[in-house]
Structures are given as C-alpha cells and as structure tokens.
C-alpha cells in the first residue's frame, strides 16, 4: 500500500505529494496527518502540491478537511505550489477552497506559517503568568 511521507521539521509538519492521489491514499493522508499533529504537537502543516496535476472535488474536500481538523488541534495549514491550471480548474469546478491558506512556494509557505503562529516559544509549562484572561 502506498503511503505519503510526513516529515517533521521543528514545529511544523511537511508533506510533499509526489504521486497522483487516488481516494484511499488521500483519506489515509488525512488520517495520518491529523494523528501526527496530535502526536508531535505540531503548530503548522505545510502541504506541497506542486507535483499534483489534478485536484478534483474529492481532493479539494480532503485538503479543506485537513485544514479544519488541524485548526481544531491548534495547527495552521498552508497549501503551497498549486499549478496555475489546477487553480483555474478548481474555480471553474466551483471549489474555491475557502478557509485554506495558500502560498506560492515552500519558502513563502514557511514564512506564512511562522507569521501565523507568532514567535516560537519553547513549550515549557509556563502557562501560569499571563493567564488572567480566563478569569474574566
């Protein structure tokens, strides 16, 4: 069974999709990725689809799902490297991928993630000091 590798890089998870996805593979990726976010406490997920030539409604839905699931687990998702033809096709198909952050390439995607997450704080258990907001 094929599997799409998920790489960990600091606070982020990195996924590069290099093969044509069929449904089962995409569903597995969704499940694996959400598990990995949980296991590694990742704050960001970067999905590189520059090698993907076809994104249909199913794939689009999976990408949206990954973004919303990660969001609930407090991780941001950025999709990078979409081919122009794929972007045009997605819009004509009627799938604007609302709520999914995108960037033109991996470099910008990384920057975007870092901006969204804010300065990296070593996640020691220092929750106590600035926690007044909960009291109100």
């Amino acid at each position: 069974m094929d599997k799409i590798p998920i790489l960990r890089m600091g606070n982020f998870l990195l996924v590069t999709i290099q093969v044509d996805l069929y449904d089962r593979l995409a569903l597995n990726l969704e499940a694996d990725l959400v598990q990995m976010v949980n296991k590694t406490s990742a704050r960001g997920v970067l999905i590189d689809i520059s090698a993907v030539s076809i994104v249909d409604s199913f794939m689009g839905r999976i990408i949206g799902n990954i973004a919303s699931m990660s969001k609930i687990l407090d991780a941001e998702t950025v999709v990078v490297g979409m081919q122009p033809a794929v972007a045009i096709t997605l819009i004509e198909l009627g799938l604007p991928l609302n709520g999914v952050h995108t960037a033109l390439n991996v470099e910008r995607g990384m920057k975007r993630l870092q901006e969204m997450i804010g300065p990296v704080q070593e996640d020691d258990d220092e929750i106590a000091p600035e926690d007044d907001s909960f009291a109100e």
């Binding site: 249909d56 199913f58 033809a85 045009i88 096709t89 198909l93």
Partner: protein, 137 residues
C-alpha cells in the same frame, strides 16, 4: 459531423483504475496537442465522473475516443455504468445536490469544465455520461 478517429474501451472497477484512466486520457490529450489547461480541465472532469461511477454505479466502462470535426480535434469520453440510475437528472445537475456525503459538485462541475456534456439515465438500468473537450475549445 463528428468523426471518431480512435476508440479505446477501459474497464473501471477499482479506485486504482482511476489513476490508470487519467493517464490514458492524458496520453490521448497530448497526442492531439491539447493545451495544459484544457488537459487539466478534461482530466478533472473525468475524475469527477469516474468517482460517481465507482461510488454510485459500482464501476463501469469508459470509452476514450479521439474525435474530429473539420479541423478541430478533441477527446470524447463516454462513461457507462449499470448502476441504479438517476431518477431526477435536473436535480442531480444542480450545484450542491448530493445523495452521498460529497459536496455535490461532480456533475455540474464536470459540465462546466468541458465543451459538450450529455447525460442519459434510466432508473434500474444505469447511467451514461458523455463529455467532449476540443483541443483548443
């Protein structure tokens, strides 16, 4: 008058066949020098219809043809299944309608991506969908 220049019938029974068929469509599209954007649209539309066929029709066949009309060449795909059929085609063609859990973009979306689209269905007998994309359409 549309002439068929080559014919190729492909069975689609499993999910993995989708990738195979996509490649086959890509091959014929490249053969008639279809541009990348039109290729992408055609293959995406094919992908939607294949999924429908697998999910609702228990698989079926896809006829891949190179067709010509005067100086234009195109790719015509005919998807035929022996599934339950579609009772209300106008409803099925509406954006956002789905009997499954999907987004309901498959049929209307596929129609927007190609030049010609035709759907015929008989309840209890099956569904046939034809799409055609001209190389420079």
């Amino acid at each position: 008058m549309i002439l068929s220049l080559s014919k190729d019938n492909i069975q689609v029974q499993r999910e993995q066949d989708v990738v195979l068929l996509r490649n086959r469509v890509k091959e014929v599209a490249v053969k008639i020098k279809m541009g990348l954007l039109n290729q992408t649209k055609l293959i995406t539309a094919a992908s939607e219809l294949l999924r429908n066929m697998l999910r609702y029709g228990n698989g079926g066949t896809c006829l891949v043809e190179i067709v010509s009309r005067g100086r234009d060449n195109g790719v015509r795909l005919t998807f035929a299944d022996k599934g339950p059929g579609i009772a209300d085609i106008p409803q099925a063609m509406r954006d956002g309608f789905s009997t499954g859990r999907s987004l309901g973009l498959g049929l209307p979306g596929a129609k927007r991506l190609v030049n010609e689209f035709d759907i015929k269905s008989k309840v209890g007998e099956g569904t046939t969908v034809m799409i055609l994309k001209w190389a420079n359409g």
